[in-house]
């Protein structure tokens, strides 16, 4: 508990020495809330000082309070009286040292401390005649079982995903990276939610400047509440107005571990299984853990497929719209005749047709996501098969346009990072409009615009497109566009780490 950052207390919020006064004040501060429990007790020592344990029901483990706080204070104290505990009591220190068997406890003398830690699951021990309290952490943790994350499944690899409980998530990391160099720095974010956030990194491997910058940005967050790591992501990212993510999020433990080992910083947030990883670069967003679990040729091929799919996702529909609308000369005559034949009698220009299908696809996707899974699947099937078939039969859209839009959509799902999928969805619509307005020139302009924008991005000082641009041929070969054999991948991504060598080559 002592690790949490406590903001400066306002003047005049010191605890009073009288128990009654303190209890009245605490009732006042919590507005007579029904879940505020005050358990008055008499300490089992000769001077019989009155005391009270105060806590918020639901936030604490009441069994732990009974066993480790109330029982020792009332019964065990009698045994120790006159030996270890001075009588009369002059402070809470002897009780903390000799009676209370709660590991995480600290003294507090200010109301601001009490009000901060009680909602987090601390019980407060107030003693009559002493102007200090003991904060005893007896939080009730609502864990769930560790399971495979639904948002990122693998064929080969561990099935562990983070859960909503921060300490469990830190334990998942600690269990796998067994070195004293793994550092955890915690702080509280959110004026009202007081959400615990932890930075995890490898000391000596992560770039110290990046670690400091992450801590600075986290400390500077001013927000009412943090319900998910997305709240934090938006406040620490470098380019808030860009559609491209410069902070990676993932709920797979192995991906977070891999990134920590590469020298990146992981940010875990209490209440969400999604960890944030910084710095995030575009090539790193196209990598998945299986790239490293499969043999290197397979991993390399999979990466090429993803780069190709990303390109197709951005340009295929736009390219089709451009050649149908303006640049028919690019199509070999046989194919052109087929394309023209399929479009005969269609009422809409290719641009409108493409945008309508893209819109229909987006609606289906949203509907499929928000509905319960069995119904969502049914909606998707109805949408794709029934509506698509009916639209073609009705002569509203061409079959090739459906193929093209579907291929673009499928390609976008080959992008492993969901935020990046969304970014390319938005970019794709822009490029389609440009291609439908200016033909291939518009498509080229759009692609150059997107590429230039991506190149101008940075994530915590690291160029977003590195090692593509700035180009590092070695990094690209070893663990960029492809992945070489492990001894060759013996270097961490430069610009991210201060210790580039993972291991001696060949080990």
């Amino acid at each position: 508990m002592a690790d949490w950052k406590v903001p400066g207390s306002p003047e005049g919020d010191a605890l009073a020495p009288g128990l009654s006064a303190n209890l009245a004040e605490i009732q006042r501060r919590f507005g007579e809330s029904d879940d505020l429990i005050v358990r008055r007790l008499t300490l089992g020592i000769p001077s019989h000082p009155e005391a009270a344990v105060v806590y918020l029901q639901g936030a604490v483990n009441e069994d732990a309070i009974a066993r480790h706080i109330i029982q020792p204070l009332t019964l065990d104290a009698a045994v120790l009286a006159g030996e270890a505990i001075a009588d009369p009591l002059t402070g809470a220190d002897p009780l903390q040292r000799h009676l209370v068997s709660i590991a995480d406890s600290q003294k507090a003398t200010r109301w601001s401390e009490l009000l901060k830690f009680m909602p987090m699951g601390s019980a407060v021990l107030l003693i009559d005649g002493i102007a200090e309290a003991l904060l005893l952490r007896v939080r009730r943790d609502l864990d769930r079982a560790i399971s495979e994350p639904e948002s990122a499944s693998v064929v080969r690899g561990p099935r562990e995903g983070f859960i909503e409980h921060l300490q469990s998530n830190i334990a998942l990391v600690r269990r796998r990276i067994r070195t004293s160099d793994l550092r955890v720095r915690s702080l509280l974010v959110g004026e009202r939610t007081q959400t615990r956030v932890a930075m995890l990194y490898l000391h000596g491997v992560a770039e110290e400047g990046i670690v400091q910058e992450v801590h600075r940005r986290l400390s500077a967050i001013k927000i009412d509440g943090v319900l998910e790591s997305g709240y934090i992501e938006e406040q620490i990212q470098d380019h808030p107005y860009s559609i491209f993510p410069t902070v990676r999020h993932n709920e797979r433990v192995d991906i977070v571990l891999g990134n920590i080992l590469e020298g990146r910083v992981a940010i875990l947030t209490d209440g969400t299984p999604f960890a944030l990883i910084v710095p995030a670069t575009f090539p790193s967003l196209l990598q998945v853990s299986e790239d490293y679990y499969e043999r290197w040729p397979i991993g390399t091929f999979a990466r090429w497929v993803r780069y190709g799919a990303t390109t197709i996702s951005l340009t295929l529909t736009a390219f089709y719209v451009a050649i149908i609308s303006f640049n028919q000369e690019l199509v070999p005559i046989g194919l052109l005749l087929r394309l023209v034949g399929n479009r005969t009698g269609l009422p809409f220009p290719a641009l409108v047709e493409a945008l309508a299908l893209e819109a229909a696809f987006e609606v289906l996707r949203e509907a499929g996501l928000r509905l319960p899974r069995p119904i969502g699947q049914a909606v998707s099937i109805v949408g794709v098969l029934v509506l698509g078939e009916a639209a073609v039969r009705a002569g509203v859209v061409g079959p090739i346009m459906i193929i093209v839009v579907a291929a673009s959509a499928l390609s976008s799902f080959a992008i492993p990072d969901y935020s990046l999928v969304n970014s390319f969805r938005i970019a794709r619509i822009g490029v389609i409009i440009l291609a439908g307005t200016f033909g291939l020139f518009g498509l080229m302009w759009g692609v150059l615009f997107v590429v230039t924008h991506m190149i101008s991005l940075r994530s915590f000082g690291v160029p977003y497109m590195s090692p593509l641009a700035p180009t590092s041929g070695r990094a690209l070969m070893r663990d960029g566009l492809g992945r070489m054999l492990w001894p060759s991948v013996g270097h961490r991504p430069f610009r991210v780490t201060q210790d580039r060598k993972r291991q001696e080559t060949g080990q």
Binding site: L440, W445, V451, I455, S456
Partner: protein, 361 residues
């Protein structure tokens, strides 16, 4: 790579600007000559910047000439760069309207290219360098692939005899490309202040010159060997014509769009560099180092010049005429840095170890 990409922007327009004299056949040799002279020109900028490590030309101008003359120098520099940016924007638009998108108004292409270049310019040198690192290798590789694809139509004998008209026309032919190749000096001006090892810039100048010289020379040789010098004289954009003739397996055809795409990328870098310089010079002159008004104003001015400064393609091609292009190009890449170098030598000005301009004379 920034200098290479900047110079490769000449690939599409190289042929038309060197066919004004009879020795078209020797254009591939002229490319080397132009590249060599441009490397020498770039060394002037290099020598000046070595005296003021870490300083941009805008700051150097004020340090060497004094505050007010330095600001005037920067205004003039900004105007000159705007002129070249406008020329480049219009040349780009004319090539596209003539060869690729005849129904699109020139003004649309002017605005779109200026917007694309502004996006790059706002990112600064780091972004332009990274963009070049991405575009450059793709350009070089694609160009070599196109060379390979056109190989069945290459007739090396069309390059012979070499020096049929003697060295003089060949030297004359190299004059106009110097205006474009010489921009490596301008690139050095912008990049060198940010290099950790400024002395490495000399190697970069020579490497960029060698690569771009080879590429442009190869491009010229390819054009001549494929079409012959006489046909090139009659074609406005022979590079696109050759690309149009490529056909692979009766499926991959009309690859001039690939050439156009690559050229578009290199033109973006080239125009962005010019806009970046014009914006930087004007910002320094006006003491406004942040904000949108100056970048937007500079871009609008470049588009206005591109739109109003030319009546048609002939005007654009005339701007490549040595009589017009060379004096202004030399003013930018030789006279202005040369003047600063000379004055700094005469007045003994150089950057002191403390980082302030000091008089060591």
């Amino acid at each position: 790579m920034l200098a290479v990409v900047n110079k490769l922007s000449i690939l599409t327009t190289y042929a038309p600007i060197v066919t004004a004299v009879p020795a078209t056949r020797d254009a591939w040799v002229s490319a080397w000559l132009a590249a060599l002279l441009s490397a020498l020109i770039a060394l002037i900028s290099y020598s000046l910047l070595l005296r003021f490590p870490g300083q941009t030309i805008f700051v150097i101008a004020r340090q060497v000439l004094g505050p007010s003359p330095g600001r005037l120098f920067n205004v003039a520099l900004s105007g000159l760069l705007l002129y070249f940016a406008g020329n480049a924007i219009r040349a780009f638009a004319e090539v596209f309207v003539t060869a690729m998108v005849p129904d699109t108004p020139v003004v649309t292409l002017n605005v779109m290219m200026a917007a694309l270049a502004l996006l790059g310019a706002l990112g600064g040198i780091a972004v332009l360098t990274r963009l070049s690192e991405m575009v450059g290798p793709i350009m070089i590789l694609s160009f070599l692939v196109i060379v390979g694809l056109t190989s069945p139509q290459i007739h090396v004998e069309r390059l012979l005899p070499v020096f049929e008209y003697g060295p003089e026309p060949m030297v004359l032919q190299a004059v106009t490309p110097i205006a474009v190749f010489g921009e490596v000096g301008w690139t050095v001006f912008l990049v060198m202040p940010y290099l950790r090892e400024p002395r490495q810039a000399k190697k970069a100048i020579l490497a960029a010159t060698a690569i771009s010289g080879f590429m442009v020379s190869l491009g010229a040789a390819l054009l001549i060997a494929t079409m012959g010098p006489h046909l090139i004289d009659r074609e406005l954009f022979p590079t696109l014509t050759i690309a149009r003739a490529v056909e692979l397996a009766e499926f991959l055809t009309r690859i001039e769009w690939i050439v156009a795409s690559l050229w578009m990328g290199s033109m973006q870098v080239k125009i962005a560099l010019l806009l970046y310089g014009a914006i930087g010079a004007l910002r320094d002159a006006l003491g406004q180092h942040k904000g949108w008004p100056i970048p937007v104003a500079v871009s609008v001015a470049a588009v206005a010049w591109a739109e109003l400064g030319f009546e048609g393609p002939k005007d654009v091609m005339a701007s490549f005429d040595p009589a017009t292009a060379l004096p202004l190009a030399l003013l930018l890449v030789v006279v202005m840095p040369g003047l600063l170098l000379l004055v700094s030598l005469v007045r003994g000005k150089r950057l002191s170890p403390s980082g302030k301009a000091a008089n060591h004379g």
